[in-house]
Structures are given as structure tokens and as C-alpha cells.
Amino acid sequence: MDDPFDSSVNLEETHLKEGYDEGYSDGLVAGKEEGKQVGLKVGFEVGEELGFYSGCIHIWTSAIQIDPTCFSSRAKMAITQMQDLIHKYPLMDPEDLQVQEIMDSLRLKFKMLCSSLHVKLHYNGYPAEANDTQF
């Protein structure tokens, strides 16, 4: 009962399956690479923003050590709160649900502090200011 047309009927399906498998494994490799690049970029951005806040806090804390009366008690409290938030940030666990919440609080506290201290500091963000950097 050999149908001479059997193999040619299945030809398309076989090729489709082969093509799919090949594409799937290539996709895995390409996707992994792309994911790595995205992760690298996002991780860099988060690190840069946290580093920026950390630097500001460092300067302000030093200023307080030199002159404890240089900022209002409300500003000093906000500086301490920002410091705690930076310490709390789960840097090595991007899937931790707190990540966004902590970053949002940091951004609000930073805005408030800039206003209180009458400074015009602005974290411009990595993508906008460093678009000439290549990876």
C-alpha cells in the first residue's frame, strides 16, 4: 500500500518542522544575546541613577558633618531616608518587586531635597545624555 506521492505530500510539513527547529535554536542564541544586551543596558541605567543619588547624598552628608546646621532638620531627615532607600535597593535581584517602588520613592525624595536645598540638580538619565556611547 505504498503511496508514491506520500513523501512529496509530507515534504512541505517536514521542511516546515526542520526550519522551525533550526530557527528555534538560532533564536535561542540570538535572543539570549539580545537579552544580555538589554539587561546590560537597563542594569547600567539603574546603577548610574543609584550612583548619582548616592554621590549627592555623600556630598550632602559630608556638608552636614562639617556644619550640622547647614540644612533644615526636614532636609536632613530626607537625606537619611534616601540613604536608607539606596541601602535597601536589591541591586542583585532585578526581579524583586520592591525595585520600582524604591526607585520611585528615591526620585520623589530627590526632587523634594533639590527644592529644599535650592539646587538645580537633574539626573538626565543614561539614554538621553550618552547616546554616543557604543556597546
Binding site: 526636614r74 531627615m77 520623589l108 525624595k109 526632587k111 523634594m112 527644592s115 529644599s116
Partner: protein, 344 residues
């Protein structure tokens, strides 16, 4: 019932662009002090208008200019009437002090990322709130020497915040937004811990489009809001202020006034006499009164009168004056402010 009429007392010209808002000075209109109000405009200026006690007509006493570089969207007198706060699309809020009839800009509040839409003083004049297109609400504390320190930056609205208003007696803040909600903010701890304690939105019979404005009744147990969804909504609470066990009594929907407006309602204001006025994009002013005792199962509020063609263009703001016999002032896209008297 007596026929009431909204009579135009005066049409005030001077602004060269649309008039966005106005605020009556709460320390005027009694004890022989002539009524004063401020109006602000797309022409980047604020005008101070004072009533002449001999003929009851208003004239422009001062023009506050060369400070804001864009539209002045909102203005508010401090409860003492000594300071005037003005919020501008230039992202700043300016504080003006009346020094012997001259207004000096004594402080500039910077922090918002873009257009400041509204400004409001709390009842004691110790706190100021501002809101902006940047979706945030800021609370500022008044310090000695006309200094203002930011107490908190609140971000919970998901869109442009249109108006902020403090409760008339308590330090509870209300904000309304392009995100269709009204949010209630309170400091529940004792360390600047301002939080959103309630959101009045669609699931609580709230508005289905932009909420433009809100206003409280005198006792502060009711508030009215107006919206792009063509309705007015009255909200109520069982008790105002902090509860004995901590926390706040929630606000709930009391009724919706629908079918009265065909265009966006931009402004609503409740008089101390219990009459509330609405200003809308159909150029008309409507007045409503309490109707809850006149008939069982009837509407809780009824239309008292509708003044068609009150202005040539959209009415952006309406507000009742302080004093024994309140006057109504309205601000419009037609560049004028009108003062109205409710007569029978």
C-alpha cells in the same frame, strides 16, 4: 416662590488674554474693608481689583507683572489676606506680599517639572499645596521670613492634576485630575508622612472624565466636584478630621446632578448661604440650591436659575465673595471678569 435674577453689576476689562481664575481676598468685605479680589490670565499678569465703597464699583488697583514668564493659571490669598500665591505655566509659584498697596514678589517656589495648575492655602495659612501637569502634588510649609520649605512630593495621580483644595477646617488635602479621580491626602503619622488615604473614582460612583474643580460647603462635611463628563457630584462624610482611633472617615457619593449641562463644567463654588454656582463651556452660569427637605424622594438639589450668555466664551472660574451679601465673580476666555449680584 420669589423670582431670583443674576444681575450683572460690572464687566471688568484689562486682561489682554483669557482669564483663567480669580480669588476673593477672605480678609475683605466686612468691618468696612472694601472687597478685593485677584484675577490671573494668559497674558502672564495678575490684576488686583478693589471695590469703591461709595459707588460699589470695582477698579484695578495693581497689575502684578514681569515675574511669571507664561500663563498665570491660578491664584490664592492666604487666610489673613496678606499674601497672594500665584501658580504659573512657567513651572513656578510666586508669593506676593502687599506692602502698603504695592505688591512685591517675596518668594518663588520651584520644584515642579512643568505647568503648575493650581495653588491652595490650608485653613491656618501654615501650609500651601500646588499641583502640576507633571502629575505630582507638592506640599510646602510656610517658614519665618517668607521662606517656604517643601514638606512632601506626592505622586499618585496618573495624569495632569487640575486642582488642589484644602479642607476648610482640617489639614486634609483634596486633588482632582485628568485621570478622572479625586484623591484625598492626609498626614497620618507625625513626620511629614503624607499619604493618599482615599481615591474617589469610577468604582465609587465617581466621574467618568476629567475632574476640573471641587468646592466645600461651610461646615466641610460635603464637597461638590465638576467634570468634563457634564455632571456635578456631591460627596459627603460622617465626620470631619481625624477619628478618635486614628484614620479618617471616608467620603462617599451623595448624588449626581446630571442633565443640566451640555458642555464641560470647568468650575463650581459653594456659597456660605448654601447656593452653589457652576461655570461651563456653554458660556452660562447656573445656580443650584438644597432641595432635600421640600419633597420626599425628590432631587436633593435643584436648579435655581440659569444665566445664559453670561460671557461671550467659556467660563473658566466662578467664586462667591466673602461678606454679608456675597457677590459672584466669573472669569472667562473672553478676557473679562464679571461681577454678579443675586437679586429678587
Amino acid at each position: 416662590m420669589e423670582r431670583l435674577e443674576l444681575k450683572e453689576v460690572q464687566k471688568l476689562e484689562g486682561h489682554t488674554d483669557r482669564v483663567w481664575s480669580l480669588d476673593w481676598n477672605p480678609a475683605t468685605g466686612h468691618a468696612g474693608i472694601p472687597l478685593v479680589f485677584a484675577s490671573c490670565s494668559g497674558d502672564k499678569t495678575v490684576r488686583i481689583w478693589e471695590q469703591n465703597l461709595s459707588n460699589n464699583l470695582f477698579s484695578c488697583k495693581a497689575v502684578l507683572e514681569e515675574t511669571h514668564t507664561r500663563t498665570v493659571r491660578s491664584c490664592a490669598w492666604s487666610p489673613s489676606g496678606k499674601l497672594l500665591a500665584t501658580a504659573s505655566f512657567d513651572a513656578t509659584t510666586a508669593i506676593w506680599e502687599n506692602v502698603g498697596g504695592d505688591f512685591e514678589c517675596v518668594s518663588t517656589l520651584e520644584g515642579h517639572e512643568n505647568e503648575v495648575k493650581s495653588v491652595s492655602w490650608n485653613a491656618s495659612g501654615t501650609l500651601l499645596a500646588t499641583c502640576s501637569r507633571d502629575k505630582s502634588v507638592w506640599i510646602w510649609e510656610v517658614q519665618p521670613g517668607n521662606e517656604f520649605e517643601c514638606v512632601s512630593v506626592l505622586q499618585s495621580h496618573t495624569q495632569d492634576v487640575k486642582m488642589v483644595r484644602w479642607h476648610p477646617t482640617e489639614d486634609i488635602l483634596f486633588s482632582c485630575s485628568y485621570d478622572n479621580t479625586i484623591k484625598v491626602w492626609a498626614d497620618e503619622g507625625d513626620s511629614d508622612d503624607w499619604q493618599c488615604v482615599q481615591t474617589l473614582g469610577e468604582p465609587n460612583n465617581g466621574h467618568t472624565s476629567t475632574v476640573w474643580a471641587l468646592s466645600f460647603n461651610t461646615s466641610g462635611d460635603k464637597l461638590i466636584s465638576c467634570s468634563d463628563d457634564l455632571t456635578l457630584k456631591v460627596w459627603e462624610t460622617d465626620s470631619v478630621g481625624m477619628q478618635p482611633g486614628g484614620g479618617f472617615a471616608p467620603w462617599r457619593h451623595r448624588c449626581t446632578l446630571t442633565g443640566y449641562h451640555e458642555r464641560t463644567i470647568f468650575s463650581v463654588h459653594w456659597s456660605r448661604g448654601g447656593i452653589f454656582a457652576s461655570g461651563a463651556a456653554d458660556d452660562a452660569i447656573r445656580l443650584f440650591v438644597d432641595n432635600s427637605e421640600s419633597q420626599v424622594d425628590g432631587p436633593l438639589y435643584k436648579l435655581l436659575l440659569k444665566k445664559e450668555k453670561a460671557h461671550d466664551m467659556d467660563i473658566n472660574y466662578v467664586q462667591w465673595s466673602p461678606g454679608e451679601k456675597p457677590l459672584l465673580a466669573s472669569a472667562s476666555d473672553d478676557g473679562t471678569v464679571k461681577v454678579w449680584d443675586l437679586v429678587s
